[in-house]
């Protein structure tokens, strides 16, 4: 799975999050920050992570979620790292 494919999958998840301005999803890239760029309430980040687990067929470690940054590249890294573990 390429990084862009992961980003495309994340956008599909973000479209289901009502508290995000969907117009801002057009130009999303690895440097996009969920909180400062998309205005995502911090309480929604855990919901996004949980949906990513289901969509990409992975289960994150609690510690990885505790340390997760708020940029798109951070969760892309985590998804690919967790997938690689098998």
């Amino acid at each position: 799975m390429t990084r862009q494919e992961v980003i495309d999958g994340l956008v599909e998840i973000l479209k289901t999050v009502r508290t995000i301005d969907h117009a801002k999803l057009e130009g999303i890239n690895e440097n996009t920050d969920f909180i400062t760029d998309l205005g995502t309430p911090s309480t929604e980040l855990i919901n996004i992570a949980a949906k990513a687990e289901q969509k990409f067929g992975v289960e994150f470690e609690d510690e990885d979620i505790d340390d997760l940054g708020s940029k798109v590249e951070n969760i892309v890294d985590l998804i690919l790292k967790t997938q690689a573990k098998g």
Binding site: P41, T43, N47
Partner: protein, 449 residues
């Protein structure tokens, strides 16, 4: 200074079964209609559920839509406001009851005519509560954790804010951005009136100048089955005949849902800005039975309630008594006999709004407070629907040597209980509500003359 402060009601709003808005609610009430329907939720479970009727409100009827989770079975992830009245951020932290509280608050503030600066000041409080704690959000979240063995995070990060005891007040406060107090009073079926009474005291004692106050009971089948299991719900009548306070054939209350929110303001401030004064709160009083019984109504508790409300000089004698009147066998008889013990048997009338929409539990006191204000506005008495036949024999407890009240059968007070709306000069109304735990609440309101 604080002793001279008076409290005006300047706004009303809420959620009412089968009604599009407050005007629709008022029109249906004064045309003697019942808002009670057969409930498909109850019918679906067949003989496992005893009562089949309710004054319920669907998600769609409130202009909302449920978005279910894609990763959690049967979990309402968020409710969308299809009419764009509430921002998504506020909806994400709300259960159904909290959304009704927010919508009712917006309507009440609009009617009050408060500016944003007034609403968002330190002088404005929010005091709103609900009676029940269980709804489908918690049920689904717990089922997925306990039964399906899923991680806690799968149910998302909003199970606390959408289920905490004062969720209604918290959501309203976050929406309107007031800077005064934000609290909930919980007193079972007296909750709605208890919150208004507490709000009255906040203004009366000079702690707040304005308060959004009321009670909510969001539609919850989980709440319904709790009461159904107690065998206290009405059974065997057509929906419109199911709630029949004081009628000899009554066999339980109709479990209903709704929201009643009012905007209260210090009287002189409201008057000075030219606000429409819907009514003035004369006094609020509450107490406990003190007889150690969780459920049974108390004649002596209600006598003390009345004396605390109207005082010894009888200055607050009402033209109408808006009773709790649930349609339960024990509750109605004690209540009627306690009213006549204080007021006698003439020169006033009794109105029982639950006969039209059932028992809204934590919302009952506040929605019925609104019906009392509507009676003052319209100068019409709302009826005791279905009070067709009153018992011609004394109740069994009236035959006891220890009984201190009237020994007349309830039928002796037939003339106090109108079965249809009628016009009358109404200057003062007493509102009564009681709750499990032996809690009693009463408020007296007057027309602003």
């Amino acid at each position: 200074m604080s002793a001279e402060r008076r409290v005006a009601v300047v706004g009303m709003g809420g959620a009412f079964p089968t009604c599009t808005d407050l005007n629709d609610f008022s029109n249906k009430l004064f045309s003697n209609q019942s808002l009670i329907r057969e409930w498909d939720q109850a019918v679906k479970y067949g003989k496992n559920v005893r009562s089949k009727v309710s004054g319920f409100i669907t998600v769609e009827e409130m202009g909302l839509e449920t978005i279910y989770s894609t990763i959690l079975e049967d979990y309402p992830e968020i409710y969308i406001d299809k009419l764009n009245r509430i921002p998504a951020g506020n909806l994400s932290t709300a259960d159904i009851g909290s959304i009704w509280a927010m919508l009712g608050s917006l309507d009440a503030i609009k009617m009050a005519g408060w500016s944003d600066a007034e609403t968002q000041s330190e002088g404005t409080g929010v005091v709103v509560g609900s009676g029940g704690g269980g709804h489908e959000i918690l049920r689904s979240a717990w089922y997925n954790f306990f039964q399906l063995g899923k991680k806690t995070r799968i149910s998302g990060s909003h199970n606390v804010d959408r289920a905490m005891v004062y969720r209604d007040a918290a959501n309203v406060s976050c929406l309107i951005k007031n800077r005064g107090v934000c609290e909930s009073i919980g007193s079972a079926c007296a909750t709605g009136l208890g919150n208004i009474g507490y709000a009255y005291r906040l203004i009366k004692f000079g702690i707040q100048d304005r308060v959004i106050a009321g009670g909510v009971e969001g539609t919850s089948f989980e709440t319904f089955i709790g009461f159904d299991s107690m065998q206290v719900l009405s059974k065997g009548f057509d929906p419109a005949q199911s709630s029949r306070p004081f009628d000899a054939g009554r066999n339980g209350f109709v479990c209903s849902f709704g929201a009643g929110i009012v905007a209260l303001e210090e009287y002189e401030m409201a008057k000075a800005r030219g606000a429409n004064i819907i009514g003035v709160i004369d006094n609020y009083f509450n107490n406990s039975d003190g007889d150690g019984d969780m459920f049974a109504p108390s004649f002596s508790g209600q006598q003390r309630l009345w004396k605390g409300l109207i005082g010894t000089n009888g200055a607050l004698i009402p033209d109408v008594v808006k009773v709790h009147g649930t349609s339960t066998p024990a509750g109605d008889a004690i209540e009627l006999l306690s009213v006549v013990d204080i007021l006698g048997d003439k020169n006033y009338h009794i109105s029982a709004p639950k006969s039209q929409f059932g028992h809204m539990l934590g919302a009952a006191g506040s929605v019925e407070f609104i019906t009392a204000l509507l009676m003052i506005q319209n100068q019409k008495v709302l009826p005791c629907l279905n009070s067709e036949n009153l018992n011609t024999e004394p109740e069994s407890f009236q035959l006891s040597e220890s009984w201190a009240g009237s020994k007349n059968a309830l039928n002796a007070y037939r003339d106090l209980l109108p079965q249809e709306t009628f016009e009358k000069e109404i200057n003062r109304i007493t509102c009564l509500n009681y709750g499990f735990g032996g809690t009693n609440s009463a408020v007296s309101i007057s027309r602003d003359i």
